[in-house]
Symmetry: C2
């Protein structure tokens, strides 16, 4: 399945922080066919550094989508049955308006003059896109990590538009530790002299700082176990203890490679804006009363976490589940056994597939019966 990106353009969007972006573009892809009653649409929301290319083979790059193991004919999100939409988030750098976009008022990239954005702003832009496709109600919004935050925001901000919601490996608000890891990434970028207060688009990007930020990220995406299985203490050059500051261990080489790769595909200012959106995210708007957020929601929920995920630990999903039960919400929960850490939602999909498939099927049948 070769896929091509689409782009929608809207006159403007008013943001939670008070600013207005005008115009605003959103890059997206779709897979499968929208049925005549427009009742089979599923929105997939991507994680921090993801993009609109969730499935199929990109016409442009030849690469499979980031959730191609979950989306396609006969897969968890079955494209023979459902119409799948995935868009790049607001503030991103893969086709949707973000800090690297040209500000029409100045003719130059926004850089740090880009307004602060929130998860809610991302979701409101997605809502504009969904409505522009003539869809009044989504069968499902599903996503992992920051994608799960968007799914939760959809279900609480626009419950009438979401039949079911699948937040995976996520949280209703960042803990101090999660904020701390994001802050280290931001500081690494801003410490790079090439960052230049964000004005690097005509010179060179803060590649070293961004690579360090990504390295920290990669450690948090994996688990102690999965790193041991993948690298152990294997030395880069067999049987040779380098005794220098080159690469001694394979894990070092892997991190350096992933760091340097990331720089070619991601914008440092987007890194700053999107991590801040994650840190600001709080489904209770600071009250801490999660029950209030869910009280009027009749969306069905399937909450999934993974046992070895220490970046978004299972207890955070369990808080959501407990509160949903308390307000008599419709919620199923699975804490899936996996050694892959936070990456599990992307790579350890066998059990996830069965659970998601069954949940979508029952939701679709309930919708038909209604």
């Amino acid at each position: 399945m070769v896929v091509e990106p689409c782009c929608a353009r809207f006159e403007s969007i008013s943001l939670e922080g008070g600013a207005t972006l005008s115009p605003v573009e959103v890059a997206y892809e779709t897979y499968g066919q929208l049925n005549s009653s427009k009742s089979n649409a599923i929105l997939i929301t991507h994680a921090f550094t993801g993009d609109a290319h969730a499935a199929g083979i990109s016409h442009e790059s030849g690469k499979p989508g980031w959730w191609d193991n979950m989306i396609g004919p006969g897969k968890a999100f079955d494209t023979d049955r459902y119409f799948i939409i995935c868009s790049n988030v607001l503030g991103g750098c893969q086709g949707t308006t973000g800090p690297a976009s040209v500000n029409p008022a100045t003719g130059r990239p926004y850089a740090m003059s880009f307004p602060v954005i929130t998860i809610r702003d991302m979701v409101r832009l997605q809502k504009m896109l969904v409505e522009s496709l003539g869809i009044r109600r989504l069968l499902c919004v599903a996503g992992g990590s920051m994608g799960g935050m968007q799914a939760l925001e959809w279900a609480t901000s626009f419950p009438e538009m979401v039949r079911c919601c699948i937040p995976i490996a996520t949280t209703w608000r960042h803990s101090a530790q999660q904020i701390a890891f994001n802050e280290v990434g931001r500081q690494a970028i801003m410490a790079d002299p090439d960052w230049c207060g964000g004005e690097y688009y005509e010179t060179k990007p803060p590649a070293r700082g961004l690579a360090v930020a990504r390295m920290v990220g990669h450690i948090t995406y994996m688990s102690d176990e999965s790193m041991r299985e993948k690298f152990g203490r294997r030395l880069r050059e067999k049987d040779k203890l380098g005794f220098d500051f080159g690469v001694d261990f394979e894990v070092e080489s892997y991190l350096r490679y992933r760091g340097s790769q990331f720089v070619t595909r991601f914008d440092a200012n987007s890194y700053l804006y999107i991590t801040k959106a994650e840190d600001y995210f709080d489904l209770t708007n600071g009250t801490g009363r999660l029950a209030d957020a869910f009280r009027t929601v009749d969306t069905r929920f399937l909450v999934i976490s993974f046992t070895s995920d220490w970046l978004y630990p299972s207890y955070q999903s369990q808080e959501i589940v407990r509160v949903l039960r308390r307000v008599n919400g419709d919620v199923a929960y699975c804490d899936l056994q996996s050694n892959y850490g936070h990456d599990a939602f992307l790579v350890d999909v066998a059990e996830q597939t069965e659970i998601v498939r069954g949940f979508l099927d029952s939701t679709a049948r309930m919708a038909e019966a209604a």
Copy 2:
């Protein structure tokens, strides 16, 4: 108790990597009195960024030592009874020869021409110091984190010199995840243009890179729980969501402060050399056969870990304990309940005190009876 630093100077030391350092100086402090039979000496080994000032009030800085809550009259390491020695590690930057020291051959700081050093080299220099004080057998070697690695190295390299060994919150070799965290810190330093290949002593140090490295470190020293208790999601300016890239959350402010503080007291090149020594450390010299390392050791062991320590997780201590039991070693083990993460060995000392005190007392009495 006001304390003053001492310094010992030796003609040279031959290093595991093949190089010779000449001369070599070691900064140390002592607390309590050495008895006439010189049988009451305890060596305290410090963690990565620690120094020789373990206890008492520094004459110079007016500050208490890093383990002052554990060392002193009536404390776990009771200075009314024992003679305590703590020295700054080889490669350090607090008085012992390290990369910032002047190379007598050139008249300039070693910088990256400093030879690669290992935990074993650190221990061999400590042995030279201990012997120069006329001590032939230590009652105990005790330390946490990298200090625990040194304690383990002492017990296996020079078992005849160590009656008992207290490795705390440590490991017999770094996991891939532990190497990965160290590597991120090194990369952050080396990515800073001010690092200049280590030749910054006549210009300015790589302060931004070193601060980022320290920020990563601080996250790993605390636990998810202790960060939540200390910071939660409290905003820096009350009730005000900044919506900018200044400091929004208290945890951000804390990390930035600790990062910037660290730069004033620690040398970036020492950071590189000492973290590499940690990563190279492997009590089995690469064989993975831990039982072989302990087979001929008759030192008594007290192994301590902390439940919320995810940097040096309890399972790593339990591996040591299991193998010591397998070779019929004398080992006591406690996994202490604490929310403080890796920092627990420094701050959560009530239970640790009782356990250490009892273990030292029984060891001293066995030594007297022998």
